[in-house]
Symmetry: C2
Subunit: 565 residues, 2 copies
């Protein structure tokens, strides 16, 4: 394998993806029993699947594996790569498996982080399409979101068909799938009467849209319409809450989403089925793919591997308390991705020196991983630690983690999917199968939906984040009253918090203790069916870096793309 390895080292993710020989999507579909006439093809390698293929009896029998991670470094620790690699490994050891992922956002693709289609020899393909417009779902979500915004401003503008909306109370923002900080805070409606009523507003990135959250929780078109109708828009001058249904917006918005609601079938580099659908971020939204996509995967194969964004304190918490709560799903095992570099980072080693061996920082950083393991046990689920192996990792460093995991009685495996694809993940796959087969229960939620919003926030903060106290700033207290008024008190919460720390301070690495979590405000997502306590200094529209990735991209007349990562 050494020659192959040598060659691999000279290839970028894009080059690996471009040199792959893809199966026609009708073959991939055929391998899981879907006939060609049920596919809506987008070219030869992408297809939308009809919702009627979801079979609840099969969903009940399929094994769901959730991939989550320790608190990541800014570069990310490879959850998507691990999810894809594990899927290849499971198929290799005879367990038919589908990987179910989120769609990448264009913002980071042109910014700094790059795409989100895995890496090395654990990728989903066609990589360029998945990382760019894919099948147009994000564009459709953006359009539906912005149609509601146009209808709101048009209603305020027009004296004949007016609900009496007070422009100062409108909370619905427009969205754009772009890292564009200049749109965070804007004033619209300038230019006198023909230009509308002047007001302060802003754009969020599309992944943060409530429409994205709704699409990922909806069962079907009717359910989608009902949820959209429930979106809170603002108040009338009389203080009455106005919802999207009062603007008759839900029908046209659902029309715009008629294709976006259908999950997308693609393939892994080894030709196994991959479903990619929906893309909410995990720091500011529920951070996991759609219920429809997960159930679709579970209707097709014995195993489904899925991921939830950022660390387990964010993605996994929301996956379990929101997505599983609403859908009745439960994972049978949780894979916790760890890297040597992240452990050293949490143990105090500077970001620029993470490739230098350092067993002292590593041992110190283990506290972060241990707290995540403890949390998975709070949910009552079996955990498997997966070490995402990097070329710079030493055997000594790996041994330290393995030893600690053994002391804690938690299963651990090295994942070499990035370098070797499924060949590098069969051991991890076997341990996951063992965990799944040894578990016959269901996750235990961290809070009861019937508790007050305040109690629910405190439960997550104390049990999962390890906070001592929660402070509610005046605006948050005011929001709590509005939540009560709108009837959102008995719904789950979706905390917006930095992905860089258990606490709300992105600089506090490792395992923070004795801290106070500060809730600045609580946003209302009555359509999606949760409230969003915003902690610390979270932003819902990113900016571009000093040197945007966009500047290095190119395409020639043959359609060959370079510079995409």
């Amino acid at each position: 394998m050494s020659t192959a390895t040598f060659n691999k080292k000279h290839k970028t993710d894009l080059e690996i993806a471009q040199s792959a020989k893809l199966r026609h999507i009708r073959e991939v579909a055929g391998s899981v029993g879907i006939s060609e006439d049920q596919l809506e093809m987008y070219g030869n390698y992408k297809a939308k699947l009809p919702l009627h293929l979801i079979d609840e009896a099969k969903v009940a029998k399929s094994h769901l594996v959730l991939v989550t991670a320790m608190t990541p470094t800014p570069a990310g620790e490879g959850k998507t790569t691990t999810s894809i690699g594990l899927t290849e490994g499971l198929n290799k050891i005879g367990k038919q498996t589908t990987v179910v992922l989120r769609e990448p956002s264009l913002g980071p693709v042109f910014g700094m982080k790059g795409g989100a289609a895995g890496g090395g020899y654990s990728q989903v393909v066609p990589m360029e399409d998945i990382n760019l417009h894919f099948t147009g779902d994000f564009a459709a979500i953006e359009k539906a979101n912005n149609l509601l915004a146009a209808l709101i401003d048009n209603n305020i503008q027009n004296p004949k068909n007016n609900l009496g909306i007070d422009p100062r109370t409108v909370e619905w923002k427009r969205v754009m799938d772009m890292n564009d900080r200049a749109l965070r805070n804007i004033v619209t409606g300038l230019g006198g009467k023909p230009g509308g009523m002047m007001r302060e507003t802003g754009f969020n990135i599309t992944a943060a849209s409530e429409i994205m959250a709704i699409l990922c929780l909806a069962k079907d078109i009717e359910d989608l319409k009902e949820k959209i109708g429930n979106i809170y828009v603002g108040d009338t001058y009389d203080g009455k809450a106005v919802f999207a249904r009062d603007l008759n917006a839900q029908g046209a918005m659902a029309v715009l989403l008629k294709d976006a609601i259908k999950p997308n079938l693609v393939q892994t580099l080894e030709g196994n089925p991959a479903i990619i659908h929906g893309g909410p971020f995990a720091n500011i939204a529920q951070g996991t793919n759609s219920v429809i996509a997960t159930k679709m995967g579970m209707s097709l194969t014995e195993y489904v591997v899925t991921e939830a964004g950022f660390g387990a304190d964010l993605g996994a918490e929301k996956f379990l308390n929101i997505k599983c709560g609403y859908s009745g799903l439960s994972p049978k095992a949780v894979v916790l991705v760890a890297t040597i570099r992240a452990l050293k980072y949490h143990g105090g080693q500077p970001l620029q020196e993470l490739t230098i061996p350092d067993t002292v920082s590593l041992a110190k950083g283990l506290a972060n991983l241990e707290k995540h393991i403890e949390n998975i046990r709070i949910y009552g689920l079996p955990a498997v630690v997966s070490i995402n192996k990097f070329v710079s990792d030493t055997n000594e460093e790996v041994a330290i983690i393995e030893k600690r995991c053994k002391e804690l009685g938690v299963s651990v495996a090295i994942c070499e999917g990035w370098e070797f694809g499924g060949e590098g993940t069969t051991k991890l796959a076997s341990q996951v199968v063992e965990a799944v087969e040894g578990f016959d229960g269901k996750y235990k939620p961290v809070y009861d939906w019937n508790w007050s919003v305040k109690e629910k926030i405190e439960a997550v903060a104390r049990k999962i984040y390890g906070a001592r106290d929660v402070e509610f700033l005046p605006k948050a207290k005011q929001n709590l009253r509005k939540i009560e008024r709108i009837g959102l008190n008995d719904k789950p919460i979706c905390i917006a918090k930095t992905q860089n720390s258990f606490s709300d301070d992105p600089k506090w690495l490792g395992k923070p203790e004795n801290f106070t979590l500060t809730v600045r405000e609580i946003e209302i997502a009555s359509g999606a069916g949760f409230s969003i306590p915003v902690t610390g200094n979270m932003l819902r529209m990113p900016g571009l870096p000093a040197l945007p990735a966009a500047e290095g991209m190119d395409i020639d007349n043959a359609g060959r793309i370079t510079g995409l990562s």
Copy 2:
């Protein structure tokens, strides 16, 4: 045919389209010699075509027919319906024909005007898809446009990688495919330093984006990149012009447009090939589909029918002086769509009474049609007047137009494509064939590109609009100097003017004379390769009406849409 007619009267355009039996797109492609492996399918009824199918030798032999119109009423006079109906008729009389159209914009779909896929029994299908996201071209254009905006603001924000762009000079606007007046004039970059540099800007509708204009004039990806690189962005503090290439934006923007540049194949209700690609408006942009789409159609069939937006003073003028000038194409016949209602409207009958017979207003309104006929003759092209027949038209009214056309020596036919499809257009088709076969020349441009921009504007204003004078306001005079500085003086002009009148006053119907055309300002589209003299009070972002069409739309779990028109 009377029973059929009776049933038809009870069907909406959407119901007719939904009840049509569609051919699989591979069959439509096969009928013009395209094999399945050359198609990039989007479901079973839409496909993208690869650019290598364009064959210049075939383009040179194919007959191009341009459909344009007299000055329309606000409802439109049926150019798209006539183009599609004529295509059915030509195929019926044995001339293999492709119709090449523009893609509809979502703004009007949710506003007042509705979609743009034809009407009655002259439609292109699948109508819902064509009118909604289609194959994602508009979304891609929007994203490429807005990526450039984000890169500009990011460059201004970032002191390390800064071109010294003066924010007060930035002319590049963001776009959204939505009727949203509140976005016309906005202030971005609020919220202090992290939110960017505050500046005044706005959104245009996507159809007005220079990226749309560029895509519709580009030959291939390399040409697209060069044109994008040439986009003028603003000036540095030293007064030096900054272009998109200075921001290294063209590669990433072209990557976003990799699929959008490929034309889309669909079908007419009678199963004939239809290519739909690009969608610039004709009042504020060049108003016709892409050069790539037109050449693709001409590579496939003996005849191609295409349309240019609004009246012949706008769409046809730009089609000939810009699109034909850049591409070397020339139509062999021009179909001039007229309606009894529009003639009466231009003769003074009020909008609400256009279904009431009125031969006096009709005779008066003929002056408008006659000026358009005169203009087609200025271009040296044979004209065929097509009367788009409505149920309320009387035989007496029709006879008046026919008589006048005979006196003028211009060919005339009644088009009943809306009611009967191809059966209702064979006579029009025969006359078009006669005109084409009797013409062996090329159009004569109205101006020479080497003239100054001022001279070119005056030529169009005097010869085509019938103006006596042209007045340049101070800002326009200033813009003339900038055009000189940027080197855009020897390029064509793309006048933005109301579609409701030959003059720049939308209320001046009929055939205005002895008027002065006022040029308010002249925008620079150095990427597309033209300047945009803006006359009167033109807006590049529409608003929604008091009762938006969106409020009447719905979709059920079976995916059945209602309320789309």
